[in-house]
Each structure stands twice: as structure tokens, then as C-alpha cells.
């Protein structure tokens, strides 16, 4: 359980960090390392170089920009957990963060690292897709932004290029109705199923609903059938029940040692039902 050999560098600027990534396709970014280190220990990853971002300035900070909050990629889960700006402007993040592993992990693991890692069991991908967040990246071809819908494309796969670094995530605060639900064997374990739902309360209805599922289906994706349903009426228990049935019918869950496909389908249905019931919270 010792990591394989690699070289290490801790650049002092973002440009330098990008140069190192561009110079070697097997170089990997090291942020908090809370997902990367287990992969190294189990020899599931063998990067040539680790480019440690801990001394790169400008990746910190949680900034309230009105209709969105700009979160630095280097912000730790712990900082999110303790942030007043997050608690007031993006309470869904406060709700989700306590599901991320344990305090000893949350003090080291970072928001950007977890997002870029695109683990389908990770809380941030499911939440950021439900919020329609915008990723800010920098690479040798300059800066660009990537919408969450175009960012998470498969298990552990984002559209971030190998030589690009996620620097910030811009998270809209306009989706004031929200819910995050997770089912795990025990608190802090990888979730068996994650569901996030958001919307904009408007005239007693829910506008622009977004509902996402993580973990259970092997990737992070939107449940567009459920989203369409939610646009059709006020949020009631009956609608929540219908949403659960629709969700169960629209997914093909994975089976593994932790839970088979049918079990996970029931989990997702239950979580969707609970999530939709909670969507009256921002009205």
C-alpha cells in the first residue's frame, strides 16, 4: 500500500503548473490528494509527475457575487462546511458537505479536486449538475468556461483536458428551492445513491427544475423525465410520488457488491420522492 515512484513539483504560479502538465501527458494535478492518494496506494494510478497546487495563489476564496458564488478550486470541504456565505447563499452545499467522508478528510480534500475527479459517488458533481454551475479552467490554450451539463461526461471523466486546471466554480444562487439526498450504508461511506433537485419557485410552481442522480447509475446525470414532470404542477405529495415512479422507470442502475440494480432503483425512487417533497423550501 505504498505509492509507486513519481516525481513531484510544487510550482508557485498557475502558468508554471500548466507548463508542467502540458510538458508531460502523464503528469497529474495534486490538490488535497484525498482521492488521488488512495488510488496511488492501491496502484490504480501511476502518474509520472505530481504537480502540487498548494503554493499556487488565487485558487482560494468563496466570493459572493450576487446571482452566483465563486468558489476557488482549492477551497477545502471543511471551509465550505464552515462558510457563512455558503450557509446563506447556497445551503444545498452545506447540506451535502457533511456527507463527504469524515472531518479528517474534509480538512484536506478540496472542492475543485473533488469536482475535477468527477467520481459518480462524489457529492459535488451531483450537486453542481443540479445547480447548473459553471467551471472555470485554465490551460496552455488559455482560459475557458465549461457548463456543468458539458463537464461531467462519464464515470471519473470530465471534459477538462489533461493539461487544464480547474481554478474556480461559479455556482448560481438563483435556484432557491433545493434538496440533497444521499443513501449510504453508514455516514461518510461512499453513497449508494445520491439525488439533488433544484428549481426556481414562481407563482406557486417550480420553474426550471433540475434533478440529478449520482452513484447509483455509474455516472452523474440529469433525470430529464422527472424535470419535465416537475414543471407541470405545484409541488405536492402526489407529484413527489409520481416523480419517484418516473425516476425509477428512467434509470438503469448498476449492480455491485454494495447493492444490486433493483435495490438501487428503489433507493433512487425514495430519494427522489424525499427531494421533491423538500422543494417547497425556497418558496
Amino acid at each position: 500500500m505504498k505509492p509507486p515512484k513519481f516525481r513531484y513539483v510544487a510550482p508557485r504560479t498557475l502558468d508554471e503548473a500548466v507548463d508542467h502538465l502540458a510538458a508531460d501527458p502523464d503528469a497529474k494535478v495534486l490538490s488535497g490528494g484525498q482521492s488521488l492518494m488512495p488510488l496511488l496506494a492501491m496502484r490504480l494510478a501511476a502518474p509520472s509527475i505530481l504537480v502540487d497546487l498548494q503554493h499556487v495563489p488565487g485558487l482560494d476564496g468563496i466570493e459572493d457575487q450576487g446571482s452566483s458564488v465563486l468558489i476557488g478550486a482549492g477551497v477545502t470541504h471543511r471551509e465550505i462546511e464552515r462558510s457563512d456565505v455558503i450557509a446563506q447563499r447556497l445551503p444545498i452545499l452545506s447540506s451535502a458537505v457533511v456527507h463527504i467522508a469524515h472531518p479528517q478528510i474534509r480538512s484536506r480534500g478540496t472542492f475543485g479536486g473533488s469536482t475535477a475527479h468527477a467520481d459518480p459517488s462524489g457529492e459535488w458533481p451531483t450537486v453542481l449538475l443540479a445547480l447548473g454551475a459553471t467551471m472555470h479552467a485554465v490551460g496552455p490554450r488559455g482560459r475557458r468556461t465549461i457548463e456543468a451539463d458539458d463537464f461531467f461526461v462519464g464515470p471519473f471523466t470530465s471534459t477538462l483536458a489533461e493539461d487544464e486546471i480547474l481554478t474556480h466554480v461559479s455556482v448560481p444562487t438563483t435556484r432557491t428551492a433545493w434538496s440533497f439526498q444521499e443513501a449510504a450504508v453508514k455516514r461518510g461511506d461512499y453513497g449508494l445513491a445520491l439525488v439533488a433537485a433544484t428549481g426556481i419557485p414562481r407563482d406557486g410552481q417550480l420553474a426550471e427544475a433540475r434533478v440529478t442522480v449520482g452513484a447509483a447509475v455509474g455516472s452523474v446525470r440529469r433525470l430529464t423525465d422527472v424535470e419535465r414532470l416537475l414543471s407541470q404542477g405545484p409541488v405536492t405529495d402526489a407529484l413527489a410520488q409520481e416523480a419517484a415512479v418516473t425516476a425509477a422507470a428512467s434509470i438503469d442502475p448498476i449492480s455491485d457488491i454494495h447493492g444490486n440494480s433493483e435495490y438501487r432503483r428503489k433507493l433512487v425512487a425514495s430519494l427522489v420522492r424525499r427531494a421533491v417533497r423538500e422543494l417547497t423550501n425556497g418558496a
Binding site: 492501491m42 504537480v51 472531518p103 484536506r108 455516514r187
Partner: protein, 169 residues
């Protein structure tokens, strides 16, 4: 690129108030640095991939898994290990509470629990039982069933006096 990536690097950090320096492989974990290079074997290694919590130490006063941190990431930082708690043979109040409440049997997980609890009590001197349960959920103990560990931390909190300053070893 002004800095060249290296496979071996000079690392120095402050552990329990004392400066340590060594040339190590980039892949050396903080846990191995503490145990092998700094000769402080109080920090235990269980799973070595971040699940069991036995290797928890304080990194700049925050609890961290020493097996999920590279020694080079701790360059220039302050580390506290279980060796910082007792004053010679004199246990600190948290350690005493673990003994009095039978918060350990085999003891392999204890260093991790003690450091996790130390961080909790420094941030929140009056935790609820629920706060304590949430905090210690990051460590595995196969002997006690956890209740005595939670009681020990409750006792230390009630006594209100954890020895929070790392003593020079």
C-alpha cells in the same frame, strides 16, 4: 518552468514543536516520515488508504490522515502526533479519560482517536454527544464498540481541560 520535478526532495517540518529535516522520496507519505524518518512510531498505520483513521495527526492544527498526505506536502508545516499529548509519564486529561472510561483495548486505533478528539475539543470545548459521534466516525475501532470512546471524550470535555499545547519531545 523554473522548478524541476524531482523524485527525491529535502523536506523539513515541525513535529511536536521540534524541527525535523530529511531527504525523502516524493512518494513518502507523512505517516512513514513520522514513523521512519522522525522515529515517532506513536502514529499507527492500519489500512494505508484513508479508511481506518489510525494514522490521524494534526496538520496545522487540523485533523488529517497521515497516510493520505505526502511528506512533501507537509513541507514547512506544523505537525502534532500522539507523542505531544503526555508530559513524560503524566497522561493528559484526554488520555486519562480514555483509560478511566476503557476507551481502548488493543490500542492500535487510539492515537488516531486521541488526535481527532484533540482537534474537536480545541475547536469546540463543549461538544454534544452527537458532535463527538460525528467526529469519531472517521476512525475505526474493532474492540470497544465506540461507546466508551465517546464517553471518554465527553469526560475530557466535562473536565474542560485538554492539554492543547504540544510539548517539546
Amino acid at each position: 518552468m523554473s522548478i524541476t520535478p524531482e523524485e527525491r526532495l529535502d523536506v523539513s517540518m515541525t513535529i511536536n514543536g521540534r524541527r525535523y529535516r530529511a531527504t525523502v522520496e516524493a512518494r513518502r507519505t507523512l505517516a512513514d516520515f513520522l514513523r521512519e524518518d522522525a522515529q515517532l512510531p506513536g502514529t499507527k498505520l492500519g489500512c494505508e488508504h484513508g479508511v481506518c483513521g489510525a494514522c490521524t495527526v494534526l496538520l496545522d492544527d487540523l485533523p488529517a490522515r497521515a497516510c493520505l498526505t505526502l511528506a512533501v506536502q507537509a513541507e514547512g508545516r506544523q505537525i502534532r502526533t500522539v507523542e505531544s499529548l503526555a508530559d513524560g509519564q503524566e497522561l493528559n486529561p484526554l488520555q486519562r479519560a480514555f483509560r478511566e472510561q476503557h476507551g481502548l483495548q488493543c490500542g492500535f486505533c487510539t492515537a488516531g482517536f486521541l488526535m481527532t478528539a484533540t482537534a474537536l475539543l480545541e475547536e469546540n470545548p463543549t461538544p454534544t454527544r452527537e458532535d463527538i459521534v460525528e467526529t469519531v466516525s472517521g476512525s475505526l475501532c474493532r474492540c470497544t464498540g465506540y461507546q466508551t470512546i465517546v464517553s471518554a471524550i465527553e469526560q475530557a470535555a466535562a473536565e474542560g481541560q485538554t492539554d492543547t499545547e504540544g510539548e517539546d519531545q
